[in-house]
Symmetry: C2
Subunit: 158 residues, 2 copies
């Protein structure tokens, strides 16, 4: 089993060595030895760092991440707890999708203030409504949010 030292990990993962030291210190990753003073890691640490990066971009705390993928290799969280996390992620993905659509829309929309734009309002309120009730919403014919077709709107912007 080949060990890689901190410099290489840092370079391959694109994570500063100081951060790796910090992660090691808090037990999020763990070095398996030293060569001289240099920390050495198992190759799988790269996979862990990918997970950490994904977790962070989802807004999880390092603590949460550690609990989800314990450095021993087994999650500390129970199966239902993990599923709960996954479902929360689903929620968040919907939020981000709405935000993306909103941003694309504001980039294109000619309304003087997007707050006045009905399409804009629709995307946002629709997204926030989804937060509350997921289960039973009437399935409708979808059309792309940022190009709402030919239906004229009151303001005429979109």
């Amino acid at each position: 089993m080949k060990l890689i030292d901190i410099g290489e990990v840092s370079e391959k993962a694109g994570v500063p060595a100081s951060t790796l030291r910090y992660y090691d210190e808090i037990g999020l990753i763990s070095s398996v030895g030293r060569s001289g003073l240099r920390r050495q890691f198992l190759p799988e640490v790269l996979l862990q760092l990918t997970l950490i990066s994904m977790g962070k971009s989802a807004g999880f705390s390092l603590d949460d991440i550690a609990r989800m993928f314990g450095q021993n290799g087994k999650p500390e969280l129970s199966r239902p707890e993990l599923h709960k996390r996954a479902n929360e992620l689903d929620q968040q993905i919907r939020k981000l999708t709405a935000l993306r659509d909103t941003i694309r829309h504001t980039a294109e929309c000619s309304a003087p203030s997007h707050m006045e734009c009905p399409t804009f309002q629709r995307i946002v309120t629709l997204a926030s409504r989804k937060q509350q009730k997921i289960a039973k919403r009437p399935t409708r014919k979808k059309r792309p949010l940022d190009r709402p077709g030919r239906t004229a709107t009151k303001s005429g912007y979109c």
Copy 2:
């Protein structure tokens, strides 16, 4: 135009009044008047707060959020910059989707350590690979990531 005061905004948006004051102070939202000492807001502040919440859960800073949806109603960012933001969000959505699948998988997989599980590794590395090259990847028949069908894996876990 009906004004709503800070208490009501706080309650309706589920945001502490102290936070609203803070947002007001840094110019992320703006109160339009006072009744006595109480800040009063236009109803559209609720929409703004929804946007702020979405932006935050995407990891944007309050500064970024302000720049994307300026309180005047017009974004400070240029069209291409907005599209760039939207594309970054697309990236992030993919990341979160991979993370969700990974979590669901670790919840179900029986491997003693998920680091050893080939399915796990596949989800994660696939996700991180997507970060680099988006444009030209060969389109393949998809199958759901966490139930990889009948193909036996080396370890036999998944």
